[in-house]
Amino acid sequence: MDLDADLKPAEPLLALRGISKRFTGVRALDRVDLDVHAGELHVLFGENGAGKSTLINVVSGTFPPDEGTFHFGGEDIRHLTPQRARSIGISPVFQEFSLVPSLTVEENLFLGREVTRGGILHAREMRKRATALIDELGFDLDPSQRVDDLSRAHQQMTEIAKALLGRVRLLILDEPTASLTERETSRLFELIARLKSQNVGLIYVSHRMREIRALADRVTVLRDGRHIRTLDAATSTDSELVELMTGRKIDLLFPTITHKPDKVMVDVENLTLADGSVRDVNFHARAGEITGVAGLVGCGKSELIRAIYGIEPIVSGTIRIDGLPYDFPAPRRSLRNGVAYFPANRVAEGLALSRPIRENASMTVLDLPAFARFGVLRQAVERTTIQRVMEQLQLRPPNIERTAGALSGGNRQKVMLGRALTRELSVFLFDEPSVGIDVGAKLEVYEFMKRLVEAGAGVIVVSSELPEVLALSNRLYVMHHGRIAAELTGAEKTEQNVLASFFREHLVAEVA
């Protein structure tokens, strides 16, 4: 940078300083800085929930920041609205389309800025301009077609065309290639190159390394709403980027777990799910050890264990539990086969918040004769059992008649864990077990897993927290794009190897 000092760098087109945004107590953005120069393509990189969407929404005026300054084209901008943003040349293309399905492509392009003559729509002029724009973009689009008749890819093209109608100085693209074919993608890349040469600044959100490599000038990494670092794309490596994106070095003492791998408890062959989130996966987990599954958000790791438990539809493949084939999994049958699932989202899928802790903990055992005879609850048994279990888990305060909604995140997870101790189980599927709970509670959850494994159970841990799965698991699968990218044991089980396998497929794809 020092070398460039005498070149007097041009003032950035967009300069954000200390931008913060809160949503009902959650800090979505925490003092984020961002510079985008004219003619530059600036990639925003980060996991889901890192704050990329919030940031581009702030830039495009969807919601105002709580604090921080916003300069665009050298001007101090306050009280930005989406209309004003467009009028000063900030044009966003979001993943959620802003198109009106019942209107044509052309009507959508000119929506809110129709060309009129004496108050009457000037259809011919609009048709001419729409056709000219679409031709220039090289898109294969018919301006007179209704949007709801278009494929997703064509809707995406319409959205991009809409953003480029009129004067654009800063174009925001949120994962624009997600629904485009190779050919359409290369068209888009050509277009991006042309815009850059016309001095348009671009903010580009993408997870795809290949695109970042092909397009980016600079990359800003966000994590947990914070600006981690801005790097030059040319001099940064893939693993550096990913480490910045995911790498959370928590100084947390993980318990030392003695793994004694025994028979295979869960065996999955060629599993493919209906939504394609898991494809041709072969996977097994043994009793007496923790099997970890790592991967980025959206790689299919949660869906894999959810399918085993029976809450994601399967199209093909076989599952065996303790050697026996398990067709058509469903939660109650899974529990009867000794398989329990602990969901990542405990509010949505785990707990009935306005019901007492007791009922939440006993929810999974209502089919057992110990808890109900001829459909009549044995409430005394229920009360003493749950009381004992929750004391064992050190619920504080130990009152099982309080509602689950009154509990902190850590205590809610304890209520979920309570279910593990109320019936005979041999396989425990943990989905993001430490999400939303404090450090102390995390330790208790890890200790709990340790006790399960050392008592001979099979435990599968799915986690986006790399240090967590690395430390807990004896054998670690790495998933990427719905497939198993690597299976690591012993000394191979390192952060570098996990990160490397995130991208192995990309490299293969590029060679192919």
């Binding site: 109650r332 306005s354 019901r355 209502l366």
Partner: protein, 330 residues
């Protein structure tokens, strides 16, 4: 931890306040009407109120069961009409073919409950298995039931309800307490035990609070929902049978505004349309409130159409109060 505890204590005391509101309102309402017309508080009228409440309470309980699971049954009223007509027709037919009175009554009960169960099965299957929203599904069966009731009866009251039937479900009494009150009390007690002491009852609350969590925890959500609608319609059929015994004929218009009245009773009593909250107590209290209100309005000669306005407003106010209560919790 301390904040958790104190917020808990707060919600606990406000919960009691909420519960006390309705009984107080009931007393105020009674006294208010009594100030206009003394006869409101006469023993004869109080017994009359109790008897009228017993019908509505039954229907409000039926609604409560489905509302607990986040559903509701708009078709309850027409189902009552359909059951009334069906029961009367079956009994008239059985009498005409020279059967014994007890066989005649059994034929009527079989037909009435059969129709009720069929209606509930239809609603339950369409809602739980086909995934149609309770509003649309029961709006559909609302019309179907009206159509069936009117077609079967040709739109006219069906005569031929035997004395024994009316005696059993209306005229009879034990220790001077009319049959309708006894039946409703017995059903209320049974339903209360079912809701609080059985796996089925527990499941209703859990499903209503968080259907997704219930499914993930392995509860057979769809099966339970079907059973819930069957239970609702069966209770409605019982109410229809009791009302048919009272009128002495099968009435194609018997159910008229009952759907709304029953929902009003449940909601005013404190059953939450958001699911998971309510019970026999709320249904009975709500039914008592609605009955006293209409009884008082009758005695003080408030126009029948104005009464409909009041009933409609009551439902909306009840729902708003429920939302207010849910928001206060957060």
């Amino acid at each position: 931890m301390t904040t958790e505890q104190s917020s808990h204590k707060n919600s606990f005391s406000s919960e009691w306040l909420w519960r006390a509101v309705l009984p107080i309102a009931l007393v105020v309402l009674l006294l208010g009407f009594a100030a206009v017309d003394r006869s409101v508080l006469s023993p004869a009228n109080l017994l009359n109120i109790a008897q009228q409440t017993s019908y509505l309470a039954l229907f409000a309980m039926a609604q409560t069961v489905v509302i607990l699971t986040r559903g509701f049954d708009l078709a309850l009223g027409p189902a009552v009409s359909m059951v009334s007509v069906g029961t009367a027709l079956a009994m008239a037919g059985a009498t005409a073919t020279g059967h014994d009175p007890s066989i005649v009554v059994l034929a009527g009960l079989g037909t009435g409950f059969g129709l009720g169960i069929a209606c509930g099965l239809f609603n339950g299957v369409v809602i739980a298995l086909l995934g149609v929203s309770p509003f649309v599904a029961t709006l559909g069966s609302y019309n179907i039931a009206i159509g069936v009731a009117t077609t079967l009866s040709a739109g006219r009251p069906v005569q031929g309800v035997p004395k024994l039937f009316s005696q059993l479900f209306y005229g009879g009494s034990i220790f001077g307490i009319p049959a309708a009150i006894i039946i409703t009390l017995a059903i209320g007690l049974a339903l209360h035990l079912m809701l609080s002491r059985t796996v089925f009852g527990r499941s209703l609350y859990i499903i209503g609070t968080n259907p997704r969590a219930a499914a993930v925890a392995g509860l057979p959500v769809k099966r339970i929902l079907v059973a819930t609608y069957v239970l609702c319609s069966t209770l409605a059929a019982l109410g229809a049978i009791m009302m048919t015994a009272r009128t002495g004929s099968g009435e194609p218009n018997l159910g008229g505004s009952l759907s709304l009245q029953a929902i009003a009773g449940a909601v005013v009593g404190g059953t939450s349309l958001a699911g998971g909250r309510g019970g026999v107590g709320t249904a009975v209290l709500g039914a008592l409130f609605v009955t006293i209100l209409s009884n008082g309005m009758n005695l003080t000669r408030i126009d029948g159409y104005i009464q409909m306005v009041v009933l409609g407003a009551i439902v909306i106010i009840g729902v708003l109060l429920d939302r207010l209560r849910l928001e206060r919790r957060r």
